[in-house]
């Protein structure tokens, strides 16, 4: 708390000297940003993401701007890009794990979840790819299949899938598991997982839950 003279709670005398208060102002800036991001301290990075993957993901998202929300809502929104960790995989299926920080548990609402992955196909072939959403129910040790999508892929490139409410619920619990089941050996080998700039990712749009939801009628 800076000493303030006069009746104003936040005004400082006009002769406020920046340099002698520099450390204090820098601390104030850090605290202000962390408060607004609902973080208690700055994150320490566990697995830095390559610049190529970052650029590719941002380019993909800019290309397919999510629908703007119908209602004009003041609450702060986040767009979170989570790159896949490849889990249990074999020739018939590939499991992808996505981790969402504690911000998405509890006080936020997941508005939309999109899955993006890259396929490298030989020319003039069409393959079928099944994508399953698996969740871990409370007190279960095995994952439960909650929904499945079938995608026809007929050219090399990025594919986007809008995932339904089960995936949104999984994201808001902090962890999403997807299982990719190709219908042929060729489709399996066409799925690109580990190339830096072509890692599959999920883009989730979340909104901070207001203290109380006030709806304007």
């Amino acid at each position: 708390n800076l000493e303030t003279d006069g009746p104003c709670p936040a005004c400082w005398g006009a002769t406020f000297d920046l340099e002698s208060h520099r450390e204090l102002l820098l601390d104030l800036a850090k605290k202000s940003i962390l408060d607004k991001l609902h973080l208690s301290q700055r994150p320490t990075l566990s697995r830095p993401v390559s610049r190529e993957a970052l650029k590719t993901a941002l380019r993909r998202l800019r290309g397919t701007r999510a629908e703007t929300l119908l209602e004009h809502d003041q609450r702060q929104e986040y767009e979170i890009i989570s790159f896949a960790d490849t889990g249990l995989s074999n020739i018939n299926q590939t499991r992808l794990e996505f981790h969402f920080s504690d911000r998405t548990t509890g006080g936020v609402e997941v508005l939309q979840t999109r899955f993006m992955f890259f396929m490298q196909l030989p020319p003039n072939t069409t393959q079928t790819m099944n994508i399953r959403v698996l969740v871990l129910r409370p007190y279960d040790t095995n994952l439960t299949l909650t929904s499945q999508y079938t995608l026809q892929v007929d050219a090399s490139g990025w594919y986007q899938l809008l995932l339904g409410p089960e995936a949104q619920a999984a994201c808001s619990q902090g962890h999403l598991t997807l299982e990719l089941v190709p219908e042929s050996q060729l489709a399996h080998s066409s799925l690109i997982l580990d190339r830096f700039s072509h890692r599959p990712f999920v883009a989730a749009q979340v909104r901070v839950e207001g203290k109380h939801r006030v709806r304007r009628r």
Binding site: P43, Y78, F83
Partner: protein, 116 residues
């Protein structure tokens, strides 16, 4: 709005840029390079009380003269130098799971200051 220069004592906006590299946050904040933590500082004497911090019109000047010449007791005391317009800060950063997060923090950057 009025930016603080030199030893101005009147209500003005003090610019203060926080470079994320200087505070060691450039590894987890991808964009932007820093944050303009501007703040309002300075005095609000009676004759500029209620001024929104933008270029005063002729009518404002006349009104201020009237206020300054009326009995100080009649006009409201304690006019303060406060933000009168602000804009959001867009951030792109890594969270602790190395997810990339993009968000706009509303009303984070002070654009103009004025007297309440």
């Amino acid at each position: 709005g009025i930016n603080c220069q030199g030893l101005s004592r009147m209500c003005c906006r003090q610019e203060f840029f926080v470079d994320f590299r200087e505070i060691g946050w450039h590894d987890w904040i991808i964009q932007p390079e820093g944050y303009a933590m501007n703040f309002c500082t300075g005095q609000c004497p009676l004759h500029v009380a209620g001024m929104p911090g933008i270029s005063a019109s002729f009518h404002t000047a006349v009104l201020n003269l009237l206020k300054a010449n009326t009995d100080a007791g009649t006009a409201g005391r304690g006019s303060c130098c406060v933000p009168t317009s602000r804009r959001p800060l867009s951030l792109l950063y890594y969270d602790r799971d190395s997810n990339i997060v993009k968000t706009d923090i509303p009303d984070m950057v002070v654009e103009t200051c004025g007297c309440s």
